[in-house]
């Protein structure tokens, strides 16, 4: 990934933008961090935050006029935070313990005119930059500071001035001989604080300073701070000393200074659903500790996190897109070492919800897909991540599990029904029923096309495999006379639209809306929550058709909090279920938890993942083509093994019943009959060991005699059909069946386990 791509991604995420209070403060005090500390009663931490940002913290924290109030988002929910009063409480509650940092002297000299807040800030900052700073001020300077506010005491002012002296700032009395021009000759640069009336007596300083650099008509002399606001006076001093630094370095006095003063932040914070709360009134003596804690507790702790709020994946990896973008960029740049973000990259559902809820349109989908493609190209994609799905894709396109035919009795096809792997595997019954219905309502021949659309390769970042699948799809489609494809699955439709725009494809749901559905007898039932699959988020016509069809069933459908274009993935998308099954289960559970009603879905995979969590979920097709003797919501989830066997059985049955084709002889291993208890079945399913694989392993063990005999009469054998070695524990029964007792697998290659070894 190019650095510029990272920067482009990063720029879209606003989570790291400063909160409004900090952006509005001319010195950028982090009010959010201050409130967070104060709300926990951590006022020592609050003081650290103050002294890190504010010069003269003992003075400014007590008299800050808090311009942040006008920017505070709490204004809209009860009233702005009393940040000034919180600063004051922090200052009153304990001493500022400033670490004395020794700064190497640069040999440069700076003169500061005046004894006000602006001048003292400039002097402090100058000392911090390593300049020898001399302050020329009236001998009554300390008393004038005291007079700024009744909240300041002699002790506070003395402490601040003594601190400055400790830092090496030299205070000299002002006399008639002092003039800006004269000082400019004796010192490398000069700053004059115009909040001091003495400085305002020089007409050459007043009203002529550049607003950005504060440069005056006298070269090397900067002036500012002529404002009633104490905090803006300090900000002018800071700005002036920054100009002095640039002036001494010969750098531009004005470039890139937009964010020095107050500015508007890009941070977005959603305040929907937040209860209004009025500010805790500030008594004349200031807040008590309890009042300060309560007031700080009103802070909204502004942050965006819009995408994270509704995404189990983003929550799981504890961060936000900008952070993830950096981690992914670093991950792709690793030459030697551990690629820590592999798991994260492969766990995104690629559903695109984040980019639709994000105020800046950040797309984790684009980021993760780009990263996956790059990992594949770099040959750094963990082999285990998507192998199961890619093998399933290969299986779906194998002769026994795929089918392409014109409608029986037709020489051509005006339409081509594309049920997709998941519907065919999970519900072969409805696949056949829908095909029969389409043949009834459509003229011109409806062909049948069962195979994989290529979505797994697309999700896995395997462009080469996707392109190969695309070519095969195009060839097959053209061989049928380029008919209109009717896709039952929105993921297939997405692949057709995005990768094979030449293929004319529509959704089954829009066809059913137009051509009609079988009459259903509306059963009295509670309303169901309608869940849109993530790949329907960008297909408004499909979502509209589904809602129309649902209305025809007489069943009331509720909209989930995030539905339509903002819908959430079930956990299957992007191969999350393949790369991170635990997280996929969590994704499904969280979605199901958004409504206590039964779910109504129109994607077979959503139906299955939700059913696995125990959620009563009905597929819309089961309302039009009800299962015999029960309701769609009661159907059990279908294991990976059964999905494969259902697909081959579907192909076999349809060839026989519709096209009257003779069944070819099965491979002998396919005829081996297995029995296993529910626990073993669950273990094998969770380890992704398919019944077909178990048959293959036992078949080879029995045929070759390469097996291990256990004292209890059972056997263990293994086989490595491709990358993975599978082990099966079994018992041959007298009735000819094989009782499967356990199974496991590994990817490491072990000498002595390979076929034919040693």
């Amino acid at each position: 990934m190019e650095k510029s791509t990272l920067v482009e991604f990063e720029s879209k995420c606003v989570q790291e933008e400063p909160p409004r209070c900090r952006a509005a403060c001319p010195l950028h005090l982090d009010g959010r961090a201050l409130c967070e500390a104060a709300a926990k009663g951590r006022f020592d931490e609050g003081r650290k935050i103050i002294q890190k940002t504010l010069p003269l913290p003992g003075i400014l924290a007590r008299i800050c006029d808090a311009p942040c109030r006008d920017a505070c988002l709490r204004q809209e929910k009860g009233g702005a935070l009393e940040l000034g009063a919180l600063e004051r409480f922090c200052a009153d509650e304990g001493p500022f313990r400033r670490p004395r940092i020794l700064v190497p002297k640069t040999g440069r000299t700076a003169a500061v005119l005046g004894g006000g807040i602006s001048s003292l800030t400039a002097a402090l900052d100058g000392a911090g930059k390593g300049y020898s700073v001399t302050v020329f001020r009236a001998e009554t300077g300390g008393r004038e500071l005291l007079s700024l506010s009744s909240l300041l005491t002699e002790d506070v002012v003395r402490e601040e001035l003594e601190w400055m002296e400790k830092l090496g700032v030299l205070f000299l009395p002002w006399d008639a001989s002092v003039s800006p021009e004269g000082l400019a000759e004796r010192f490398d640069a000069v700053y004059a604080g115009l909040d001091d009336p003495l400085c305002r007596s020089f007409p050459e300083l007043l009203g002529r300073e550049d607003p950005v650099s504060l440069e005056t008509a006298v070269p090397g002399v900067f002036a500012g701070g002529n404002t009633p606001s104490f905090i803006f006076r300090a900000a002018a001093g800071r700005r002036g000393m920054k100009s002095v630094e640039r002036f001494l370095q010969g750098a531009s006095l004005t470039s890139s200074r937009e964010k020095e003063g107050p500015y508007e932040t890009r941070l977005f914070t959603n305040i929907e659903g937040i209860d209004p709360a009025p500010p805790v009134p500030v008594p004349p003596r200031g807040y008590s500790g309890d009042e300060a804690v309560r007031e700080a507790g009103r802070c909204l702790l502004c942050e965006c996190m819009e995408c994270v709020k509704s995404c189990a994946f983003l929550q799981h990896y504890k961060g936000y897109p900008k952070k993830f973008a950096r981690e992914i960029y670093n991950n792709l740049s690793v030459i030697q070492g551990t690629r820590l973000a592999n798991g994260m990259i492969n766990s995104c559902t690629l559903c695109g919800q984040c980019e639709r809820v994000c105020p800046g349109g950040f797309s984790m989908r684009d980021l993760c897909r780009t990263a996956r493609q790059e990992m594949v190209l770099q040959q750094k994609m963990p082999p285990s991540a998507h192998e199961f799905a890619l093998e399933d894709m290969a299986f779906s396109n194998s002769p026994g599990a795929s089918l392409l035919r014109h409608e029986p009795g037709h020489g051509g096809s005006a339409f081509l029904f594309f049920p997709g792997c998941r519907l065919a595997g999970i519900s072969p019954r409805t696949t056949e029923s829908v095909y029969a219905h389409l043949r009834k309502v459509l003229d011109g021949g409806v062909g049948f096309w069962l195979r994989c659309c290529g979505a797994p390769a697309r999700w896995a970042g395997r462009r080469k495999e996707l392109e190969a699948a695309g070519k095969e799809l195009l060839d097959q489609w053209r061989s049928m006379g380029s008919p209109l494809v009717i896709a039952a699955c929105t993921s297939c439709l997405e692949v057709f639209r995005k990768e094979l725009p030449e293929v004319r494809a529509v959704s089954l749901w829009t066809v059913l809306r137009e051509k009609g559905v079988p009459e259903t007898v509306p059963a009295p039932s509670a309303p169901a929550a309608l869940h849109d699959p993530c790949t329907a988020a960008e297909l408004p016509e499909v979502r509209a058709a589904v809602r129309d069809l649902v209305a025809r069933t007489g069943r009331r459908a509720e909209e989930l909090p995030l539905s339509g274009e903002l819908t959430s993935c079930c956990g299957f998308g992007g191969l999350q279920e393949c790369a991170n099954p635990g997280l996929a289960a969590k994704t499904a559970r969280e979605r199901c938890g958004q409504s206590s009603s039964d779910f109504l879905v129109y994607c077979a995979m959503c139906r299955d993942l939700f059913a696995r969590t125990g959620k009563r979920t009905v597929h819309l097709l089961d309302l039009f083509f009800p299962p015999p003797g029960g309701a769609g919501a009661d159907l059990p989830p279908v294991s990976w093994s059964d999905q494969r066997e259902n697909r081959t059985a579907l192909v076999r049955n349809m060839r026989k019943s519709l096209w009257k084709e003779e069944e070819e002889m099965e491979e002998e291993e396919g005829t081996l009959s297995l029995v296993m208890d529910e626990g073993t079945e669950k273990t094998l399913e969770s380890r992704r060991i398919l019944a077909g694989t178990v048959r293959q392993v036992i078949w080879h063990g029995e045929a070759s005699g390469r097996k291990i005999a256990r004292p209890d009469g059972t056997f263990i054998t293994c086989l490595k059909p491709a990358a993975v070695t599978y082990w099966v524990v079994y018992r041959p029964r007298e009735d000819g069946l094989f009782e499967v007792l356990n199974g496991w697998s590994h990817r490491m290659e072990v000498k002595g386990t390979e076929e034919g070894a040693p």
């Binding site: 285990s384 291990i708 005999a709 356990n742 590994h746 000498k751 386990t753």
Partner: protein, 71 residues
């Protein structure tokens, strides 16, 4: 790991079905993504057929596979 290998001694009760020999612990080469390890595994002393116990495949071996895949 040593304890795990020690526990493999119990597989001495298992026999190679074709040779009839009880399995014995032998140093066996294991490879993955270019890395090679040598581990004591129950092996048929006659034909060399090796056995990978469930606890190794689903435990330590899986752990190492994941580490190597992220390298």
């Amino acid at each position: 790991m040593k304890e795990l290998v020690k526990s493999f001694e119990k597989y001495g009760e298992y026999r190679c079905a074709s040779c009839g020999c009880p399995l014995e612990l032998r140093k066996t080469d294991i490879t993955y993504l270019g890395s090679v390890f040598s581990v004591d595994l129950p092996v048929c002393p006659s034909c060399g057929m090796a056995f990978v116990p469930e606890e190794l495949a689903t435990g330590k071996m899986l752990e190492v596979e994941k580490i190597l895949e992220d390298k």
